[in-house]
């Protein structure tokens, strides 16, 4: 199995470069995931930098650009990939080392949409009631794992990362706008209603295409926009 991996260590390198690696085909099973292959490469070269944690697609640590598309390496079967497999860090954010990017801006955008429930305070003896139908509206928005695959594949994000909230943050925003328990949805909508924050989304669909959890941030943003139009 042949891989071309982007390398960059700012201690020694002026610019990122490509390095060729080869892993013995005998070690590859039909269900081998890319993360396992990267771990084999790291055994050859322990300096190779990439993040990983859960190894089963729920923590969002190992987002990377594989053959031109953003993926989580731990749930990407290598046999599905054309060789040599070209692996780069997620695009559009600064590289810290090799495949590890600086996600500060991505997290800041998330924090900026106030991603926490703001509800009528209740005493601890009772829960907010929410019908299964109201709860079902949250399906497709609360499952986001903050891997960054969506935002870093979005041209609007690349062009205006300092202004456009990006698909992940907007998906989180929509999750609270539509939560029947949240009482601040008017304020939330007002804050998001700007030509750069929400309306810079052009529905190119890269985010939805890239989401490893099968979520649809583009549709969520569309719904946000239509609620804004209705409420204004």
């Amino acid at each position: 199995m042949k891989l071309i991996i982007n390398r960059y260590n700012p201690e020694n390198d002026q610019a990122p470069y490509e390095q060729f690696f080869e892993v013995d085909d005998a070690l590859i099973q039909p269900d081998t995931m890319l993360l396992e292959v990267l771990q084999m490469v790291r055994e050859q070269d322990p300096s190779l930098g990439f993040r990983s944690s859960c190894q089963e697609g729920v923590c969002g640590s190992d987002g990377m650009n594989v053959n031109g598309k953003n993926h989580l390496s731990c749930i990407t079967p290598v046999t599905s990939l054309k060789q040599p497999i070209v692996i780069k860090p997620l695009p559009g954010l600064p590289i810290i080392k090799d495949l590890i990017i600086d996600m500060k801006l991505f997290y800041q955008q998330y924090q900026d949409v106030k991603p926490f429930l703001q509800a009528t305070p209740l005493n601890p003896s009772q829960e907010h009631l929410q019908t299964p139908k109201e709860r079902a509206k949250l399906d497709g928005s609360y499952e986001c794992i903050l891997c960054g695959c969506c935002s870093t594949s979005c041209p609007s994000f690349w062009w205006n990362p300092d202004q456009f909230s990006g698909p992940a943050a907007l998906l989180a925003a929509s999750r609270f706008v539509i939560d029947s328990r949240d009482i601040k949805h008017i304020e939330r909508l007002k804050e998001l209603d700007s030509p750069t924050k929400t309306f810079r989304c052009r529905h190119i669909q890269n985010c939805t295409d890239a989401c490893p959890k099968g979520l649809n941030p583009s549709r969520a943003i569309q719904e946000l926009k239509s609620i804004m139009v209705k409420e204004s």
Binding site: E43, P46, E56, M103, L117
Partner: protein, 624 residues
């Protein structure tokens, strides 16, 4: 030439860059973030140190749910929950701690709901509750529905909501910082911690009279496990190196349904929603082992049953090495709505859609019942010379890394998420009280000897860099018959693999004197290899090889604790299942083990059989 000689961390001005806090929390999973929330809300100056971004902590992977006797689906009360938990623990759990946890459960789950957790709902708008293993109504009668769930992503929903609430309060989080070791003051109390910024290998002392460890589990000590790669027991290693003990380290839960050959978890919720285990002839074999509750017996019982079926030749597949978890008789919509995550995992890792086909499963290491001994308030305790128990001043522990002993010898599904939030909140309350009592502790002087010890450990891994390819290992230390291919060139990664293999063979689902002794004989070779191995990466930016070496030191200490404790306990109880001592022996072994790594010796502690508000549950034969 090794770079470390010009970049020695000891030369950096550590003491001048020291930061002080009212409390430092190590770990940003459910326990750490729940504690942080409490302390931040009380207005204290706190820091949370996490080696990964908080939502990447292992709490995120918890699937099935969190237990609370809400009684939303079946009648329930906390005393039934208490009984089930004590029985599930095989009577090794401390009854006062279990009593407290079960009493707090309903309120703390409603609190989580207030924090924004998107629980699944019933038609009447209340929180949905599902059946789980080991749950009963009225002390052992009908199955109870006690597990509150957000589909099968409950841990994800809870961890993200807790993180979000910490964003609301502006909690200070040191993300991608690795906690290396505890520091003591001149009086011997814990009053600081050495951390490393993973981004640039800069070391820093965070000083505080209150250090709370919430570093999670250590399942990486076994080869096949459901744990995240980050679960290396860092808090436990720190505690052992500081000279304190670990409790009940022989008790490791093997979850019955890991994806066969892989280990990813298929939640117990799959059986709670009606899934059935079958052997090669299609027989629903749990009827034989737990005639009353069948597939919803406690996890140790189900794991052993699967292991026995396979051992006796009734396993499935070409190698007869697993059984099948059959959900095909369930309504496809139930699977899509209630078990979407496990459907994803089955399709991704086994290539099987559980709506159409049964999923191959086998027990896999899942949860550490033992850990850092604490009292109900989250304070770490340690035995005195006369075996009385004493609070370690300045040190607290909660969550999987801790052993307040609510899980005893076996944890019930749905109780781990409960444990982390109940005791996360409680420890934070204790710390608040401590801060109110003694704010002046900030001034305490660091003990130079404890700092020196930590510096030596740091320097060891900076100086152990060898860029040449001839870092040949002395083959005489690879003389174990289990390592028939001694590495020409040793590495941290190879040593870790060998350690995991040794532990899996020596202290797996079934144990006996010879297997455990064998493991104990091999561990010193691993120790020697770790002492002599060289690193190849001398970079200071995201040096994951060095990080892995520090983590491996923790895993190795945990392996010693596990093998020593397990070999000593000559009985079968809960998850500790011995071929050579098949019965539970309350006469000799109704007690906790305490392992001290410096003396490599064990001492013992009584199980607390005295709940505060009700009669104790006296140990009886455990049947499901």
């Amino acid at each position: 030439m090794p770079k470390s000689s010009t970049n020695n961390p000891a030369t950096k001005n550590l003491l001048e860059n020291t930061l002080s806090f009212d409390a430092v929390i190590v770990g940003a999973g459910g326990a750490g973030l729940r504690a942080a929330l409490q302390l931040a809300e009380s207005g204290h100056k706190i820091a949370v140190v996490s080696k990964v971004f908080p939502t990447r902590s292992h709490t995120v992977a918890a699937q099935g749910g969190i237990n609370a006797a809400l009684g939303n689906v079946t009648p329930d009360n906390w005393q039934w929950h208490m009984y089930d938990t004590i029985k599930g623990s095989d009577y090794l759990g401390d009854q006062d701690a279990i009593e407290y946890m079960c009493q707090e459960a309903a309120e703390i789950v409603r609190e989580l709901e207030h924090f924004g957790v998107p629980f699944s709902r019933l038609e009447n708008g209340k929180i949905y509750q599902r059946a789980f293993g080991g749950q009963s109504q009225n002390y052992g009668e009908d199955q109870a529905h006690r597990t509150c769930a957000a589909a099968d992503r409950t841990g994800h929903a809870i961890l993200h909501s807790l993180y979000q609430q910490n964003i609301r309060l502006g909690t200070t989080i040191f993300e991608e910082f690795y906690a290396i070791d505890l520091l003591k003051d001149t009086q011997g109390a814990i009053n600081g911690i050495m951390v490393m910024n993973i981004h640039n290998s800069e070391y820093q002392i965070l000083k505080s009279p209150n250090i709370l460890l919430a570093t999670g589990g250590a399942g990486q000590v076994f080869r096949t496990n459901t744990n995240a790669g980050i679960n290396t027991g860092d808090g436990l290693g720190m505690v052992l190196r500081a000279g304190y003990t670990l409790q009940d380290m022989e008790f490791w839960q093997f979850h019955p349904t890991g994806v066969a050959g892989k280990g990813m978890l298929i939640s117990e919720a799959a059986r709670g929603e009606g899934g059935v285990l079958r052997n090669a002839s299609g027989e629903a074999f749990m009827e034989k082992y737990a005639p009353h509750v069948k597939d919803l017996a406690s996890r140790d019982v189900v794991s052993r049953a699967i292991a026995v079926e396979v051992q006796q030749g009734r396993g499935c597949g070409p190698n007869k090495d697993h059984v099948l978890l059959d959900l095909t008789h369930l309504d496809g919509e139930v699977i899509k709505n209630r078990l979407p995550g496990i459907r994803d995992i089955s399709i991704t890792f086994a290539g099987i859609d559980p709506i159409e086909q049964a999923v191959p499963v086998f027990p896999t290491c899942h949860y550490m019942m033992g850990g850092i001994p604490t009292n109900l308030k989250g304070q770490v305790i340690t035995p005195n010379q006369d075996n009385s128990q004493q609070v370690v001043k300045g040190l607290y522990a909660v969550g999987e890394c801790a052993c307040v002993s609510v899980h005893g010898a076996n944890r019930l599904g749905g109780n781990s998420l409960l444990d982390i939030v109940v005791f996360g909140r409680k420890a934070a309350q204790t710390i608040s009280e401590q801060i109110a009592l003694s704010p002046a502790n900030h001034q305490a002087e660091l003990d130079t000897a404890s700092l020196q010890q930590v510096m030596e450990r740091i320097e060891r891994w900076h100086n152990a860099v060898d860029n040449s390819v001839d870092n040949l290992v002395d083959n005489s230390i690879n003389n174990s018959e289990d390592h028939n291919k001694p590495p020409i060139s040793d590495s941290v990664a190879l040593i870790k693999k060998d350690l995991q293999k040794i532990m899996e063979q020596g202290c797996g689902v079934f144990r006996e004197e010879s297997s455990m002794r064998h493991a104990l004989q091999q561990l010193p070779f691993i120790e020697k290899r770790l002492q002599t191995v060289c690193l190849t990466d001398d970079s200071d930016i995201f040096n994951l090889e060095r990080l892995s070496a520090l983590e491996l030191e923790n895993l190795l200490a945990i392996a010693f604790a596990t093998a020593n404790s397990a070999l000593a306990r000559q009985e079968s109880r809960g998850a500790h299942s011995r071929i050579d001592y098949q019965q539970r022996d309350d006469q000799a072994w109704l007690k906790h083990t305490l392992y001290n790594h410096q003396t490599r010796s064990l001492s013992y502690k009584e199980v607390n059989l005295n709940p505060i508000s009700r009669e104790p549950f006296t140990p009886k034969k455990r049947e499901y």
